[in-house]
């Protein structure tokens, strides 16, 4: 009986079963899969609307693709700094980890600023949720839905990163916490790869 209780306790304590990963990491992956499915649904419904539309505006007429590429560059760079933060945290270099987490948060803020500028510019040109001057009405709806939802994730990521940095500086957050923040941040980057390709390029 005592032996059975001990085994039960071990399992609920996180253990290594069955993925050889702690419960935090497994839960983060479950979150990423479910959130990924949400974006997959959004992108599929966008694809549906795109095929149904009679006149989908050519993206290069509406967006400055060089500007969007610069946003992509910022996000990819912030992913590299985040990976470096996780590496430093794992090797016990708290100062290095803190520096890279803050650089990542800065990258997120730059991305958000660029997105805010893009939104302001397009709204100024007449883009709305219900109509736009370039073509099918759903173009504006999906632009605001996809980039808005992704931007909200970036904003959440920046808040998580700043919190992680503050806790890391005080020695509360350990390497696990940095790794979880990193997983979330890379997921945000991953989603952008899909939005950048499917909405802006294809």
């Amino acid at each position: 009986m005592a032996h059975s209780d001990a085994r039960t306790l071990d399992r609920w304590a996180g253990g290594v079963c069955p993925f050889d990963a702690g419960w935090r990491k497994v839960m983060m992956w479950w979150f990423i899969v479910t959130d990924g499915l949400l974006f997959a649904g959004f992108l599929a419904s966008y694809g549906y609307a795109r095929v149904l539309a009679f006149q989908w505006p050519p993206q290069s007429d509406v967006f400055s693709l060089k500007y969007i590429a610069a946003m992509t560059f910022v996000l990819i760079t912030s992913s590299a700094t985040m990976a470096s933060a996780v590496q430093d945290a794992k090797q016990g270099r708290r100062g290095g980890a803190l520096k890279y987490v803050l650089l990542t948060a800065l990258g997120g803020l730059v991305f958000l600023g660029m997105q805010a500028y893009e939104w302001t510019h397009l709204i100024g040109e007449g883009a709305r949720l219900t109509h736009n001057p370039w073509g099918d009405a759903s173009f504006g709806s999906y632009f605001f839905l996809l980039t808005g939802f992704h931007g909200t994730h970036v904003l959440t990521g920046v808040i998580i990163l700043v919190t992680t940095a503050a806790r890391l500086a005080r020695g509360i957050t350990k390497e696990d916490g940095v790794e979880m923040a990193g997983l979330y941040w890379h997921f945000v980057d991953l989603v952008w790869v899909f939005i950048f390709t499917l909405f802006y390029l294809v």
Binding site: G41, F187, L190, V193, L201
Partner: protein, 96 residues
């Protein structure tokens, strides 16, 4: 640390090549297939190297990858083509 910056460079090269493909006059089908392959390759690189998925157990990798791929396939291969059929019907019979 070096691996991450090599990964960053590879992702950057992919992005530049995708932008080049966008400006080149490729046939539409070739362009779309190229973009989707490049997109999935970039996503795999991020998942494997930045998210360290390649160091995880096969069980976790399969749960994540198969879960997303199966749903993606259902959404894009089974449901989305229906839009083409609706488009054809609207073209043929006109909007109600």
């Amino acid at each position: 640390m070096r691996t991450y910056w090599i990964t960053w460079s590879v992702l950057l090269v992919f992005t530049v090549v995708m932008l080049w493909a966008d400006s080149a006059s490729l046939p539409r089908q070739v362009f779309v297939v190229f973009m989707i392959v490049a997109m999935l390759t970039k996503a795999s690189i991020i998942g494997a190297n930045f998210m360290h998925l390649r160091f995880e157990r096969a069980g976790l990798i399969l749960t994540v990858v198969v879960g997303l791929l199966v749903t993606g396939t259902v959404l894009y291969v089974l449901i989305a083509p229906d839009a083409t059929r609706i488009h054809e019907m609207v073209t043929k019979y006109g909007p109600r």
